[in-house]
Amino acid sequence: MGLTHSEPDRPPNGPAVPPTLDDADPTRRREAVHAHAPGDVTELIPLVGHENDPVIREAALTEIVESGDAGLIATLVPYLGSQDAGLRLAVVDALIACPEIAVGVVTPVLGDADPHMRILAVMVLAGVHHPDVVDALRHLLETESHPNVAAAALDVFLPLAQEADDELLQSVSRRFADDPFLRFVLQPLTAPGGGR
């Protein structure tokens, strides 16, 4: 007994029957997810929506992200509106992992009629570290009417804002003059003698 060497415990050959996405055994379903990559991962899109095991869902999302297929990744966007908070956040994280594609597919969601979708779009943009995010948020703040969306956008936008954005921030401040939180956030920038 003590420090010793050991052999890998994996069987040298895999099971004879290939794993399937509807296998009752979650370990086999996860193997099936990885077996789909790097080829056609289209079948994994509906799996993301109905798979209840987050471990398998994460594996599917990782393979979809890894595919780098913008069209396929765009089909994840509707899941941002899911009633399942775990799924919504998993999709946010997956989109953040492909910044170039995410900016393109998520920026249009900033114009969605549902403020919750707009907030989730801001969450994605907050994580992608992409130069186009500043302009996208600037555009959103020009017209945004929901205080929670504006607050989420300002949280990302303010550290990146330039002197030229002072006029925009003044207009946001006027639009939400009755909102105590936004007044608190914007007052140091919009008060006389304030600003950057």
Binding site: G2, L3, S6, P8, V55, E58, D93, A94, A97, H129
Partner: protein, 292 residues
């Protein structure tokens, strides 16, 4: 002789210093007061020049945007001393001995498995981490007398693996190792160095492992415990997802993952279960299916 145009160091104003200090504190927890101006300015100017920027403003915008992660890395490297040493972040080894291994061994007995307990150190850099695990087990874990333990260690960098296999370390690296341990497990090699004894060196399997490469990870088999400290913070989100999937794969169901103290697995993936022990937070692969 003519000299070329003089390169002026970019100016750092009081406002720049304040903005930078706040930013750096938020990112790293390291605070620089105004008394550190000389220290900070010199290093900041080096970072700005190295990035090819002419002014603090342009450089700072690029760093804050995060579009060039290497800028942030240069910054961290410039402002921190990067070194590894024996028994670093020792509280995690306390957690291994007091909480994690007893659970692993108990699970082994319940399942009546005679397999050795398997521990992986990844990345192992120049070897201090896997040797520290071995030392703590031999010196402070009585169960080692009745339990087989295998330690694997891997790194993507073959140069550091060569150093690890040689097991020769200087005073700075060994400063936390008790003298009695040095006497028992090392051989003196000149006035400044010690070499890990062959009994321990030969017991650890060192190999080239890229955590993002399934081809590297697959043949390793399953582990009860994986130390993967201060690696994921250097990855972008996509690579982190990939590495996380691979770390999940190499752990046995119920196996434990140690990350660096500033790393959060929840940011990367919800597939592990956080376990808060008395000494440390550890991530556990669920026994079955659902991680939450």
């Amino acid at each position: 002789m003519s000299s070329g145009p003089t390169l002026l160091a970019p100016a750092i104003s009081d406002a720049d210093f304040k903005r930078f200090s706040e930013f750096f504190y938020q990112r790293t927890g390291i605070h620089f007061g105004s008394g550190k101006r000389y220290f900070v300015d010199k290093r900041l100017q080096a970072c700005i020049t190295h990035a090819g920027e002419a002014s603090f403003a342009g450089w700072f915008m690029a760093v804050r945007l995060g579009s060039q992660p290497e800028l942030m890395q240069d910054l961290i490297n410039e402002f921190t001393v990067n070194e590894t040493y024996f028994l670093r972040e020792d509280y995690q080894f306390d957690c291994l001995l007091k909480s994690v291994l007893p659970e692993v061994v108990a699970g082994r007995r319940d399942g009546r498995s005679a397999d050795p307990v398997r521990i992986l150190s990844l990345p192992c850099s120049t070897g201090e981490e896997p040797y520290s695990i071995a030392l703590r087990l031999l010196e402070e874990w009585p169960e080692i007398a009745v339990t087989d333990v295998s330690i694997y260690a891997g790194d993507i960098d073959t140069t550091v693996l060569d150093v690890a296999r040689r097991g020769r370390y200087g005073r700075r690296s060994l400063q936390r190792v008790p003298v009695t341990w040095l006497q028992r497990h090392f051989t003196r090699d000149g006035p400044e160095h010690h070499v890990v004894n062959d009994e321990i060196r030969s017991a650890i399997d060192f190999s080239v492992i890229n955590v993002c490469d399934r081809g590297d990870i697959g043949p390793l088999g399953h582990f009860d415990v994986v130390f993967c400290r201060n690696l994921l913070i250097y990855f972008d989100e996509r690579s982190s997802r990939h590495a996380t999937e691979n770390l999940y794969d190499i752990l046995r169901p119920g196996g434990f993952l140690f990350l660096g103290h500033s790393e959060s697995m929840s940011r990367i993936s919800g597939i592990f279960t956080p376990r808060r022990f008395a000494d440390a937070l550890v991530y556990q692969r669920p026994e079955t299916g659902d991680a939450r």
